[in-house]
Amino acid sequence: CIDTSCPDSCGTSFLCDMTNSQTNCSQCEPITLELCMNLPYNYTNYPNYLGHRTQKEASISWESSLFPALVQTNCYKYLMFFACTILVPKCDPQTNQRIPPCRVLCEHSKERCESVLGIVGLQWPEDTDCTQFPEENSDNQTCLTPDEDVEECSPSHFKCRSGRCVLASRRCDGQADCEDDSDEDNCGCRERGLWECPSNKLCIQHAMICDGFPDCPDKVDEKNCSFCKADELECASHDCVPREVWCDGQLDCMDNSDEWNCVTLSKNTSSLAFLTIHRSATDYHVCADEWQEKLSQLACNQMGLGGPSATKIIQENEQLHHQKWLNLHSDWKNKNASTLPALVVKGQSCQSRSKVSLLCSKKDCGRRPAARMSKR
């Protein structure tokens, strides 16, 4: 870093990320640590009083779990405020100066809460020696003390009616953590600004509705998201595309979902696996005219079954001649297409009156020949 007071450069230490070594540490930076986003100040600078070099490191630190848990014990009204003044020390953007907590704030926090930690066999964080902080109003050193409207709970807490702070993950978890049970009140999705899945009362964020990813077990959060015309189909991303482009080997939907799962194997009564293509969202078998083994391998690869394939040509049963099928395009060999759906067409007759059945296999995986036992 530019300012010598910063930690050594990233070159030696693994944990820094690239940007850190160019950081001019004496600069103030906006607070991003979720735990301390409700302080009466918005800027900090690093390293902090616990030796963390970045807010990211502070966010995964032991102390960022310890203090919020300790706050739940109500041992000291301003413990969370003190914790944040050392996790994200105040930095004055005008002067780029750091403003420490007053010594008395540190001493009160330690006096009242250190013993609680002792009960569970934990220690007060070593790096918080209170003598490093200035006395209040001593030789015009400004330092931080909580004023009346400072928030006792962090954004990671839920504030009970009684004023106690309990961790947000305990809100509506089915167990009362507040002495007045207020953490289990109003637990409906709506009261918490969430949307409720009708089938299982699961609460999901409104942003997850119609976003292309089903979250409710019955996928109802992804239903009625768009209204396509009769000759159109709805993509997973809810845009509409003409029915005939579905599984035609070209990408049309915003999320490419018109080309998902186009090539499958459908079993019939005799457990033969017929090659099936979901053209225009209708299942078709494939006529065997001109079929070649390399097309079978392409079909298996498209299904993620990259192992060896075997082809069977099945004679069509007379009365099934109305069965829908697709034929290879007359000059499929010259088409520069990389998928099977792009090589087949509808509406032609099938001279051989037979269709393609495939046996695909998974590529070999998960074995470690080099780890074999060698006899001694």
């Binding site: 693994f14 944990l15 993950s169 990813f213 590529k363 995986c365 074995r367 470690r368 080099a370």
Partner: protein
């Protein structure tokens, strides 16, 4: 890996090292097909450009290139669209290599689970990586055996976070065997019948692991993402190239 041991060459042929200059090894990764690798999305924070990455296979000692080593550049990085940096949810990404690897005894893909294939709590599986060992960074690949923990039990260790169905927990209450910084993106694999190893987790996050260690490690739950993985590979292999 904390509490593990040095592994022997060839024991984890799907393990790879995701590297970027000047740091070198940044994250672990896992070979799932000749041109495709899985890792976690948070490894690319601040380094989303494919051109700054390379992937190294078939090594055991990061400091000693082996004759089995293969290096590939990165053609495409596909982050999960719902990756949430703040709460480390949907922490998974697919990496397309610039060309196929040559499959050997020391470089081979792991199996992916089917969508329905879940790993039961109390199953013993393995984690591997070149991440922090608690007191130093290793040169040789480390391996550790961990036990799968139920999501409910896992939530009790992490008050400040929400354990979601996209996550898998493994380790021990005392944290004796655990993954750590630098292991991210590496595999959590479980042996299946007939000696097949299947990938169920990618090292994602946990409590601080080089001081007071508590609780298990948290892994991206690969079974949850199988459909997304297959679709992305299909689209990029057959339709976008």
């Amino acid at each position: 890996i904390l509490g593990g041991r040095t592994s022997r060459p060839g024991r984890w042929p799907w393990q790879c090292s995701l590297q970027s200059e000047p740091s070198g090894h940044i994250c672990g990764c896992v070979l799932i097909a000749n041109k495709w690798v899985l890792t976690v999305a948070h490894c690319f924070e601040g380094r989303e450009n494919a051109a700054v990455w390379k992937v190294v296979f078939g090594i055991n000692n990061l400091d000693h290139p082996s004759i089995f080593m293969q290096t590939r550049l990165v053609k495409t990085i596909i982050l999960h669209p719902r990756y949430n940096r703040a709460v480390v949810d949907y922490d998974i990404s697919i990496v397309e290599l610039n060309e196929d690897i040559n499959e050997t005894s020391y470089v081979r893909p792991v199996c992916l689970p089917s969508r329905e294939q879940l790993v039961e709590p109390d199953t013993y599986c393995y984690i591997t990586g070149w991440g922090h060992m608690g007191n130093k960074m290793p040169f040789k690949l480390q391996e550790g055996e961990v036990r799968i923990i139920s999501l409910e039990q896992c939530q009790s260790y992490f008050d400040m976070k929400t354990i979601t169905s996209r996550m898998l927990c493994a380790g021990y209450e005392s944290g004796t065997v655990d993954s750590c910084m630098g292991d991210s993106g590496g595999p959590l694999v479980c042996e299946q019948p007939a000696g097949r190893w299947t990938l169920f987790g990618l090292t994602s996050w946990g409590s601080v692991c080089f001081s007071k260690v508590l609780g298990p490690g948290v892994y991206s739950n690969v079974s949850h993402f199988i459909e997304w993985i297959e679709r992305q590979i299909y689209i990029h292999t057959f339709l976008l190239n």
